[in-house]
Symmetry: C2
Subunit: 285 residues, 2 copies
């Protein structure tokens, strides 16, 4: 296992970013790729890797997978195909499990993006499943958001589209070999390779327009804010869980379950408990 | 608009539960109904309402909808059909928007369940879209979890199934008019009404077994704990957002965006800021 791979595993397990690393970030182009299940995002990313490698660009991929192919054991065919690049030092792929996690981006995703950025990857792709709930999250991490759809989608997925369209910088209709649409979008077929150079071109053009305008700085400021909020919340959630372990807290929770105490009053009492529980030792203390 | 309807709107907007209400709860049977998009959950619930009303039971329905039919404007056909019961005083239906919310249950869902419970509804149905991420959440609210699938599901949805199966007390194969499966499950057709009395029977049998065993108390204790954690987290998130508004915080966030300060150090500094921001006035102060 490479040093980078070990670092990413530590980050995935909740370790803080090494203190010298963040200053080396900001160079990579962070590309979010999202869309409903089944539209072929992984196959498309496989093709994008090929195209970027042809341009000698180093590509990192973080696949946020709610079905947890790594720890859950059910390795997916698409992911497996992507892994054929794993012998290539210019490619780094990591699937992040989201089991029991709410939302499209895990708490460790921003730190792992930083690790790949600092390691010199030119493009960092963050793949999430866009179910209409997590769309905002990938937009908070990425410079450029690519939304992938396909010609024929069921009603329920069509409904989720509106939320996705709001965050799309680039819209892709994949599986275009299955049919045509009138949408103004890039038509690709991960199967035949059709449209892949056009997509890479559109991603680069979007990045260039971000760099030229004030938009990149604005998006990075939004990303920084989102990352800090996420870290603060995760730290506080850990404090809450520790505070609930005390005997006094257990009594309060039992009283709520038995309808002797209402949840709002319980929260007031537990906030007191929380003040007595000190936060975990910090990296710099 | 009824008093109950007004109360639920206040709760949905974040108001705390009225202090005398919680003590009146605990009588209703809370039934979670979840499954992938498109399996016909809303039509099934429409049939369940009919069946329960035939038994003179009062039914409340909380539909947590990530596509936000109410505020988003896109009222769905299925929901519309369910609304035909809205003239019936023994039925109360409310769709909750989850726009910008991560996960399957909104922060206000437990309080709204309590409001319907205290108002004398015999059965409170909580409908969520099970995308493989939010399955735990509905199980934290419900006494009985019904997972709805259909005979033919796409690959991506099949993958999400495993997470759903873990929390299923009752498995339903809806749209059984489209085909048969060998799964041990209740086969229903919301279209023809097939299997609906069997499903209501299974839900009641599950409830009876919970009541007879220690399991109901255990599930209610878990629900109380989850509700209190959710309230604590939501309160803390509000404190975090307020703390980030100060000039000092803005400087810290700008330094992160410009790579002068790393996110971990920023969190340490902001934790200090957070101590200076007092929490919002509480219900009882």
């Amino acid at each position: 296992m490479s040093e980078l791979s070990k670092l990413i595993t530590r980050l995935e397990n909740g370790a803080p970013l090494p203190s010298d690393l963040y200053a080396k970030t900001g160079r990579a182009h962070i590309v979010g790729i999202t869309g409903p299940p089944g539209v072929g995002k992984s196959s498309l990313i496989d093709r994008l890797i090929e195209e970027y490698r042809g341009q000698k660009k180093k590509v990192g991929v973080i696949a946020v997978d709610p079905t947890s192919p790594i720890t859950g054991g059910a390795l997916l065919g698409d992911r497996l195909r992507m892994q054929r690049h794993s012998e290539d030092n210019g490619v780094f792929i990591r699937s992040l499990a989201t089991r029991n996690h709410r939302g499209g981006v895990t708490d460790s995703t921003p730190a792992i993006v930083h690790a790949l950025d600092a390691a010199g990857f030119d493009v960092v792709i963050v793949e999430t499943v866009g179910t209409g709930q997590d769309e905002v999250e990938v937009a908070e991490v990425a410079d450029t958001v690519v939304v992938v759809l396909m010609p024929e989608l069921g009603d329920a997925i069509q409904r989720a589209k509106s939320g996705l369209m709001e965050i799309a910088d680039i819209l892709v209709i994949n599986k275009s070999d299955l049919g045509t649409t009138k949408t103004e979008a890039i038509h690709t077929s991960a199967k035949t390779g059709e449209g892949i150079p056009a997509l890479v071109g559109a991603i680069e053009a979007h990045h260039n327009s971000l760099v030229k305008s004030a938009e990149l700085a604005k998006r990075r400021a939004r990303a920084a804010r989102a990352e800090v909020i996420r870290l603060l919340q995760s730290r506080m959630s850990a404090s809450i869980l520790r505070a609930l372990e005390t005997a006094q807290s257990q009594t309060i929770l039992n009283d709520v379950a038995e309808r002797k105490l209402d949840p709002v009053d319980a929260v007031a009492k537990l906030t007191q408990e929380l003040r007595h529980v000190t936060a975990k030792p910090h990296r710099h203390t």
